[in-house]
């Protein structure tokens, strides 16, 4: 696992023959497993290119920031981006544009967050070639008095046949939360497989009852359910798991 850090909105100097970092651009030239971490950052503007035939597993971590982000990903022929993100920030205004430019390129976008302030996310996935596919899964927990807006636009122009697109977003509210999900699918091509789902809701009392009926206290039951909600969306190693778990534990204290 290699870590790229953005500290105070500046990409740290990073030496790896497989990637090129230039100003605000990261180019991945061969397969790899990377972590991108925002430290003390506010305005972030990144271009991320993934070359042909390259598979990248990228974990993005941000904790305690006030973020304003514009990130632009471009995927080449047969490239594969597996993106896992975890945020626990003060406020977020994030715009992500993902261009699936090469045939057979694939995006797996998995975002989990715990929100305590005002957070707005706009994710645009452009399916710019035949046989490209995207799978987007957002799982956000809204703490009391938080505001979350998720807008996901899956875009497919006429002529790009045999594409597959899936988007699924859930916001779990803990207290008084203003939660909005806007799941858009702008599709002009008939030859496509597309599905989406959006849910805003509280923790099901039946789930809490089941856990409590096994001797687990209500407080511990809610913690287990929060952990489950967040981790069910993230495939991460033990070190990252421990960091996220620590955030949840601190939150529940």
């Amino acid at each position: 696992m290699k870590k790229i850090v953005i500290d105070n909105n500046r990409l740290d100097d990073y030496r790896d023959s497989n990637i090129i970092i230039r100003d605000n651009k990261i180019i991945f030239n061969s397969n790899g497993d990377y972590t991108l971490e925002y430290v003390n950052s506010g305005d972030i503007n990144l271009d991320i290119d993934i070359a042909d035939n390259v598979t990248i597993k990228l974990f993005i971590w941000s904790n305690g920031n006030d973020l304003k982000i514009l990130n632009h990903y471009k995927l080449g022929y047969k490239s594969n981006l597996m993106l896992f993100k975890f945020y626990y920030n003060n406020n977020v205004d994030e715009n992500v544009v993902i261009d699936l430019n090469g045939e057979y390129s694939h995006l797996s976008y998995n975002f989990s967050s715990i929100s305590r302030g005002k957070e707005e996310y706009h994710i645009i996935v452009n399916h710019n070639h035949h046989r490209v596919s995207s799978n987007i899964s957002n799982k956000c927990i809204g703490l009391d008095n938080s505001k979350i807006k998720l807008q996901i636009d899956s875009v497919l122009d006429k002529g790009n046949t045999l594409c597959v697109m899936d988007q699924n977003s859930r916001i779990l509210t803990l207290g008084k939360v203003e939660a909005t999900i806007i799941p858009n699918m702008f599709i002009e091509e008939d030859s496509v497989e597309a599905k989406h789902g959006s849910i805003v809701g509280r923790i099901a009392p039946e789930e809490i009852f089941y856990l409590m009926s096994r001797g687990i206290t209500e407080e511990e039951a809610v913690t287990l359910l929060i952990k489950g909600f967040i981790f069910s969306n993230l495939v991460v190693d033990m070190e990252k798991r421990a960091r996220i778990f620590q955030v949840i534990q601190d939150l529940r204290r």
Binding site: Y210, K227, F231
Partner: protein, 255 residues
Amino acid sequence: MKLEIKDLAVEIDKKLILDKFNLDVEEGSIHVIMGPNGVGKSTLSRVIMGDENYHVIEGDILFESSSIVKLKTDERSRKGIFLAMQSPMEIDGVSNQDFLRTAISQKNEERVGLYQFIKSVEEAVSDLNMNKDLIHRSLNVGFSGGEKKKNEVLQIKLLKPSLIILDELDSGLDVDSLRIVCENILKYKRENPSTAILIITHYSMILEYLRPDYVHILANKHIIKTGDYNLVSDIEKNGYGKYLETKNTYGEDCL
């Protein structure tokens, strides 16, 4: 262990479900509650477990001679009551392993050691002829009906309750799975002879394995008839009709 239910009246959404309900379950005994659909059999199990959707408006439930009606569900569980549910919850993201380890730790009031936990789970999983992978998967998610019920019995073996309530354990189980599940409950009972079992069912097949000492018919909000195992055969042959046509002990028409 003794469970005593005294003159219990229970309502949900202002509708009376149980009334003047009485039942004594002695240590080590096996009871079955049978009755037509919708008479409140599952309600009874959830009231004993402390489901807050049901309101006890009269009467009392004593467990080991102490009232439990004011206790929360988790407190009742830690006292030794276990409800094997008709439709166990599927909880995405919460691994079976994480859930079990948390439950055992909370019951024992200390974090269970990993080695001891794995050893106990492996033994129980083997006894139940369960797929070992199920322990690492999300709780009950994608489990077949039979796997869910085996998972309930796995929890019994690990949490070691002194009162087991089986709410339609037989639903969703094929013949072989029903046999395995019942054999494991009987094995648990042999190892823990003071454990009492309260079975809620529509069918006699489970009772061929878990021979009850007492058979109760629930109708008109309370128990209208109590007998021994012969009562099961009679219900199987003739249905509930002749019992429902009679007056109950309060002189009221049944149903």
